[in-house]
Symmetry: C2
Subunit: 239 residues, 2 copies
């Protein structure tokens, strides 16, 4: 029996080159949306509703009684209650609650994947690496690892997470894709010096001035919030 | 004085994210268009006219008296005279002649760069690596290293050429770009095992069945056709 295919998509701009139908699309936005999503669900959030615009976030927050959250330039967006840091969502705060999270890159890619006919959408980052890998292997469907990037630009933190997944699941999939080959090599090269390496990345330089070093280090730590965020009817829930 | 910026663009789809105005755009299509262009000009071709369609190639060939060339699936395209192999253009054949070359990925990116307002367009591949680097350093303008990819997909041979350029010129430019960081690391990792490494790439698998191994090995050999192809008024000429 042939193995299902796995592809890595390095930017939302490249998604439509790949066939997402019948596939599981993994939305990857390491700094920090999909790290925060995993953390909130791991700590007992009832659901996370990802939205792409601030006014929608406020409106859905009102309707659901959920916690509204989102940042621009390192600050909570005016009109929202919380930010986009995984550290803001410990169990004693988030358990049982709805989090309405506005993000740009990750949410955009998620909606693109749905429009492209993805059979399933899940989210992944280093904090829930094992849960993602276990699920992909168990399902045995074609996989698209979707890097959200930053304003459609390639970034290495998302790529390295794709590489981490590939390094663990590759025996279960057919992989003929230079993006995947590169992602796995970059992950293997830097998995042991990742805390130093992420300090070279453009996104680090964008965020470090806001005092987010600890946040970013957490976001590349494996399996500290090991839950599977599954997208169902507009919500991300723990699978 | 601040150094000019250098960016690497991993797919034609991502070109318009970057500001090409006032920049030198380097068109990179290692397998095999920009390797063939360097070789033909190095061997004395008067000019290479890159065109994106077969009928245009035939028409321009008639008007200019040039040699028409292009391949699909490893064979010379019907109606054209020669293929897309650098080995077809030795000095005793091509010297003083016009080559009208139809390619898909590289020519498309070249025209996109012109539309994006590039100040200058040159082409690069391993056979003319030094000529490209020397020119970029001498000009001191912003640089966009444009990987043609394959049907808009990321590929590693073009990326590695970008990395080769970066490894040589980086002290002369401001580079804050994860694409460039990755490209340089992939080049450094594989520069010494490149003949083995290219056998892992998707494009190799696409082309090897046509008996093109020697061609592809040539295309990753540095400075064997060390000329600078400059795009001027529709022609690529030796600069």
């Amino acid at each position: 029996m042939s193995k299902p295919v796995l592809h890595t998509v390095l930017s939302p701009r490249l998604l439509d080159i790949y066939d997402c139908s019948n596939s599981i699309v993994v939305i990857i936005d390491v700094f920090r949306a999909t790290s925060t999503i995993a953390t909130a669900l791991y700590n007992g959030a009832a659901r996370v509703i990802p939205v792409d615009a601030v006014d929608k976030c406020i409106q859905i927050g009102k309707v659901t009684g959920g916690i509204t959250a989102g940042e621009r330039d390192g600050k909570v967006i005016e009109g929202l209650a919380y930010g986009n840091s995984p550290a803001e969502y410990p169990r004693n705060f988030i358990e049982g609650k709805t989090l309405v999270l506005t993000t740009t890159n990750g949410t955009k890619l998620l909606h693109m994947a749905l429009q492209a006919g993805a059979a399933e959408v899940i989210t992944g980052s280093f904090p829930n690496l094992s849960a993602v890998c276990d699920y992909l292997v168990a399902q045995g469907k074609p996989v698209v690892l979707g890097c959200s990037g930053w304003k459609d630009k390639f970034n290495l933190e998302d790529t390295m997470f794709a590489g981490a997944v590939i390094s663990r699941v590759k025996n279960h999939f057919t992989i003929h894709c230079d993006s995947s080959l590169m992602a796995e090599e970059m992950y293997n090269k830097h998995k042991d010096d990742r805390l130093a390496f992420i300090r070279q990345l453009t996104h680090w330089h964008r965020l470090e001035k806001f005092g987010l070093e600890k946040d970013l280090e957490y976001c590349v730590t494996e399996d500290v919030a090991n839950v599977l965020p599954l997208f169902k009817n507009g919500d991300l829930i723990a699978g």
